[in-house]
């Protein structure tokens, strides 16, 4: 029996469909809209069509991300923190630390040798160093997102970006451009700042082994390189780092679909089915 995981992030909604042996059968990415129930319902249909399956083949649907409670088709809703931990463990079992940098959130999750989450940190009240931050900067610089991870790699003298506030950093970037700084140097400076913030968040935890770097930010090659240089452990980037949360949600979905089950909100109030169930 297959499972579905849907991660409703602040910017994008990601969906995966995995086989019993946890192989990826289908995936989808769409910008998150205000109509989360409709969006996720359509996404589920798309995933099924792509995999050539029907609802009868699905044993469970898990939702995660900021919009997790609004996914009507899901059987269970879990936080993105748990989902990323389980997703990373699925892709790289020896993982001891997960760093997830998405649209508005940065999270670091510490895991023990059995793959159990033991601690975590998140950014709070500030989106500095997240996807939105680089989005703003890419607009200010006129550098497209795909280029953001490559253009600065040859920079010999990355600009030093002092401000961590998105708005202030943007004006710093604008004045750097006005002073005639090269785009490569400025982009390199921004990527360095982002990597540094993630590394310092991670270092408040005990890093004892392999690091899985997930979330959309992990597609920025320069940030990955810089993060590697700052952490003493191996940094593993999955093939589709932005799908890790959705994978985790699929793993956390209950094993058997309950016929006409209640809405996920109702079950979340009393989390009777522990996440550990997924291991069995």
């Amino acid at each position: 029996m297959a499972r579905v995981g849907i991660d409703v992030g602040s910017l994008y909604t990601k969906g995966v469909l995995i086989a019993e042996d946890r192989r990826l059968l289908a995936s989808a990415v769409e910008p998150t809209t205000t109509d989360v129930p409709g969006l996720t319902e359509r996404m589920l249909a798309r995933l099924l069509a792509e995999a050539g399956l029907t609802m009868a083949d699905i044993e469970g649907i898990g939702a995660t991300g900021t919009g997790r409670r609004r996914v009507k088709v899901a059987d269970v809703a879990r936080t993105e923190i748990s989902a990323f931990a389980w997703g990373a463990k699925l892709l790289h079992p020896p993982v001891r630390l997960v760093i997830d940098a998405g649209g508005q959130g940065v999270r670091a999750i510490e895991m023990d040798q059995w793959g159990m989450m033991t601690n975590f940190r998140t950014n709070d009240k500030c989106s500095s160093g997240t996807g939105c931050f680089l989005d703003t900067m890419s607009f200010a610089l006129g550098v497209d997102m795909p280029e953001f991870g490559t253009i600065g790699r040859g920079s010999a003298c990355p600009s030093s970006i002092m401000q961590t506030c998105t708005v202030f950093a943007e004006s710093e970037v604008v004045s750097a451009v006005a002073r005639g700084g090269s785009k490569a140097d400025i982009v390199a400076g921004l990527n360095a700042m982002v990597a540094k913030r993630m590394a310092s968040l991670a270092k408040t935890l005990a890093v004892r082994g392999d690091v899985v770097f997930a979330g959309g930010m992990a597609r920025n090659r320069q940030v990955v390189e810089l993060l590697r240089s700052q952490l003493a452990h191996r940094v593993v980037v999955p093939d589709d780092p932005h799908l890790v949360g959705a994978l985790g949600a699929a793993v956390l979905a209950p094993k058997r679909r309950r016929a006409g089950g209640a809405a996920p909100e109702a079950r979340e109030a009393a989390p009777a089915s522990p996440p550990g169930e997924a291991r069995a």
């Binding site: 900021t66 923190i81 989450m117």
Partner: protein, 445 residues
């Protein structure tokens, strides 16, 4: 104009000009916001099913425009004085022995922060200090308006300056609280400070502290302490007959209520909870993560974090807050003796057992926390840190490291009084609970 018995005169530094229309407007606006916030919070607690009947009384006390305010107004009409306190260190026994009413002024009202921000700008102060000041600036805090005098122990920087600023409106007895606990002279200094405070209050009320009066007051508060420890014991077991946020509310109302009546009502609540426990009537499903709530003061109606914990699959089984379990920390041990002996006993009870982060060394906080974790079989600690509470924030790291060595996870929640970050915090609290439950499952095999 007759001189104030303590020689106090309004300083006129921050007071807005009288008759300024905007003052009245502000007062109305803040009062309305106060009523709305505490009303919403009460409704949220009252909506929880199978709530003990005995909680109704404490709900009423928590209406800061309710019967307790009226009662204090009447007492003032009879010439009684109302003493407002700013910290857990102000010895209530001494106030009572001087024939005055005592209420805690620290505010948990979100809207009170705004008038203080308008005056101070973003001074990096914690919302507790700002809201308390805002209650005075806007003339909207009922207890603050009723107070004849403030007793302000110089605990943290914010409270020191708050006490100083309040002198514009009413006399303030600033108590020099020693912040270094070691050394021969510290406790001695504190005893002198408490003695002096009693003398000042005596001059204000015209009732001097006597051996008989103080011993009676100690007896009254010791009975209150016993009632609170009964409540704690009722929450000891694997299942609890009361939600932690209700227990916290009931305990906290001791700060503003008439303490003898509070004790009676607390005993009544405990009787009811005892019957519930005997009948196997518990709250929750039994699968909740057992949480210890620690950190900066959680002051009604800022019930944001307790609500989030218990709405996300957690059960607060115990707390170490100066607005909760530490309100009536330990009973005063005093037998026969002179007035000075009794004052010393009271002063020491407020000084030594207190583990406020303003103290150094504060090793006891760590060992007490670990003891509570063990006794109450705590699975995780939620550390509530008010933004701007530097002392609380600094100690959070130390406690987290100590707890980590004991294999107990801690979640630090940094927050203010506004509701803007509720959903972000909810995600983190939910993840924390998921983590604890996954660990529990794993341990079960």
């Amino acid at each position: 104009m007759t001189e104030h018995p303590l020689g106090w005169a309004p300083k006129g530094r921050y007071v807005r000009p009288q008759g300024d229309e905007s003052v009245e407007e502000l007062k109305a606006r803040v009062r309305e916001a106060y009523a709305k916030q505490s009303g919403e919070m009460r409704a949220r607690l009252m909506a929880v099913k199978d709530r003990p009947e005995g909680m109704r009384y404490f709900d009423d006390v928590a209406r800061y425009d309710g019967p307790r305010v009226k009662e204090l107004q009447d007492a003032k009409g009879r010439g009684r004085k109302v003493v407002g306190t700013l910290c857990v260190f102000a010895p209530a026994e001494v106030v009572r022995a001087c024939g005055a009413e005592v209420v805690r002024l620290c505010s948990g009202m979100h809207y009170g922060v705004h008038p203080a921000n308008e005056l101070l700008g973003d001074a990096g102060l914690c919302p507790c200090v700002k809201s308390t000041l805002g209650g005075r600036l806007s003339d909207a805090d009922a207890f603050m308006t009723l107070a004849d005098i403030v007793v302000a122990p110089a605990s943290c920087d914010g409270k020191v300056k708050l006490g100083e600023m309040l002198e514009d409106w009413l006399p303030v007895i600033m108590m020099n609280l020693p912040r270094v606990k070691t050394g021969d002279t510290t406790a001695q200094l504190w005893v002198e400070e408490v003695m002096w405070m009693g003398q000042q209050l005596g001059r204000l009320t015209g009732t001097e502290m006597t051996v008989k009066g103080l011993r009676e007051a100690i007896g009254v508060y010791n009975r209150a302490h016993l009632a609170l420890s009964r409540l704690t014991q009722l929450r000891w077991g694997d299942r609890s007959p009361i939600w932690g946020r209700d227990a916290l509310l009931a305990a906290q109302m001791a700060l503003v209520d008439d303490v003898e009546r509070w004790t009676k009502r607390m005993d009544g609540l405990c009787d009811e909870l005892g019957r519930r426990a005997a009948a196997g009537q518990w709250v929750g499903t039994g699968e909740e993560a057992r949480i210890l709530l620690a950190g900066s003061p959680v002051i009604w109606p800022n019930w944001k974090v307790p609500n989030l914990v218990e709405e996300s699959g957690g059960l607060i089984v115990v707390d170490e807050l100066c607005t909760g379990a530490r309100v009536l920390g330990d009973p005063v041990v005093a037998d026969e003796g002179t007035l000075r002996d009794l004052v010393r006993a009271v002063a020491e009870r407020y000084f030594f057992p207190c583990t406020c982060p303003c103290f150094s060394p504060n090793d006891e906080r760590e060992s007490r926390m670990l003891r509570l974790v063990k006794e109450h079989r705590v699975e995780g600690v939620v550390y509530h840190a008010l933004r701007g509470c530097h002392l609380g924030m600094l100690e959070a790291t130390r406690l987290e490291l100590a707890l980590r060595r004991a294999d107990v996870p801690m979640l630090k929640v940094e927050s203010e009084y506004d509701e803007g970050d509720v959903e972000q915090i909810r995600t983190r609290v939910e993840a924390f609970v998921e983590m604890i439950q996954a660990r529990r499952e794993f341990a079960r095999g």
